[in-house]
């Protein structure tokens, strides 16, 4: 009787542990590392402000993803994005990109989305100063413990 009881305890313990594991599916597991916030957003824009897309690369997910930049219509992956932006950035001698105080992030487990307006203050190689305010929507997913941008949409409002 005691043996049977012990065996039932073993069955229950294993089943419970299996159930607990299945409840903690990858999409819902506890996050390690701070979720993106305004400071993290600024880091991303600081990387872009170096005018070298390689510095922004660590923040973006590789593979097929949609990215909408100020121009052109769209990019279908980070590789395309980095290549396209490289040609644009080559026209600038410096840029400062500041995340404004309206930045907001919305965490949902392993997904975070955020919005902000961005102040651009740049100087073209021609010497012309360019100032604008962009709108930025960004979506991060936590992959292998790291927050990566899987989509972002940067635009300038039409005048």
């Amino acid at each position: 009787m005691l043996k049977r009881c012990l065996l039932w305890i073993a069955v229950s313990a294993l089943s419970l542990s299996a159930f607990a594991q299945s409840a903690m599916s990858p999409g819902k597991k506890e996050s390690h590392g701070a979720a993106p916030d305004k400071a993290y957003m600024q880091k991303i824009w600081d990387a872009w402000a170096t005018l070298d897309a390689a510095n922004a690369a660590p923040y973006y997910a590789d593979g097929p993803n949609t990215f909408f930049d100020v121009a052109p219509l769209k990019y279908g992956s980070w590789t395309e994005y980095a290549e396209g932006v490289k040609n644009v950035l080559a026209n600038y001698q410096r840029a400062t990109l500041t995340v404004n105080d309206d930045a907001v992030v919305h965490p949902h487990g392993d997904l975070v989305w955020g919005t902000a307006t961005i102040k651009e203050d740049a100087v073209l190689k021609s010497g012309k100063r360019e100032m604008a305010t962009f709108r930025w929507t960004v979506i991060w997913e936590k992959r292998n413990g790291k927050w990566l941008i899987v989509h972002d949409h940067t635009s300038e409002a039409l005048q």
Partner: protein, 161 residues
């Protein structure tokens, strides 16, 4: 006794392996049956709501109250109410607008949150007779509230030429 022990042991392994198989399931990003209402057709329905030139027809797809909405212009709206009032002023200059979702539309689910992207074909006629054609980009964030998918943020823009 030995038979009983073997069958109980089998149960242990069976239950354990079932649980393990469950834990190896991918993240819940696939379209669950309850997500079926939010698809490409639904995205087009939202655009059809805007195409009537009366924002009230799009209102039911949006979460009301404070929220950030980036439209083609101006810089931003901070609530659905602002958005609706602002767009209403723009739309009075049009006699017709048709928005068509392009084939690149995609919806990504993450539990009760979903995000969608698409390019959109705009074909409009202003009241002065001028035809306006453009391709817009659209990002929409949805939340399921009380069983209904609502847009809590969207960003519509036209790329700079």
């Amino acid at each position: 006794m030995r038979k009983r022990f073997v069958s109980l042991l089998s149960c242990v392994f069976l239950l354990g392996s079932l649980g393990l198989a469950q834990s190896n399931k991918p993240a819940p990003k696939k379209m669950a049956p309850s997500d079926s209402a939010l698809d490409r057709a639904m995205l087009q329905t939202v655009l059809d709501g805007w195409s009537t030139l009366d924002p009230a027809d799009a209102a039911k797809f949006y979460a009301h109250g404070p929220g950030t909405f980036f439209d083609v212009s101006p810089l931003k709206y901070s609530s659905w109410e602002e958005y609706e009032a602002g767009v209403r002023k723009v739309l009075v200059d049009y006699q017709s607008i048709k928005f068509t979702l392009n084939d690149d539309a995609a919806v990504h689910f993450h539990g009760d949150v979903a995000w969608a992207t698409s390019t959109i074909k705009e074909d409009a006629v202003r009241k002065d007779g001028k035809r306006e054609m453009a391709t817009l980009r659209w990002t929409a964030i949805w939340e399921k509230r009380d069983g209904k998918w609502l847009i809590v943020h969207d960003h519509t823009s036209e790329p700079l030429q």
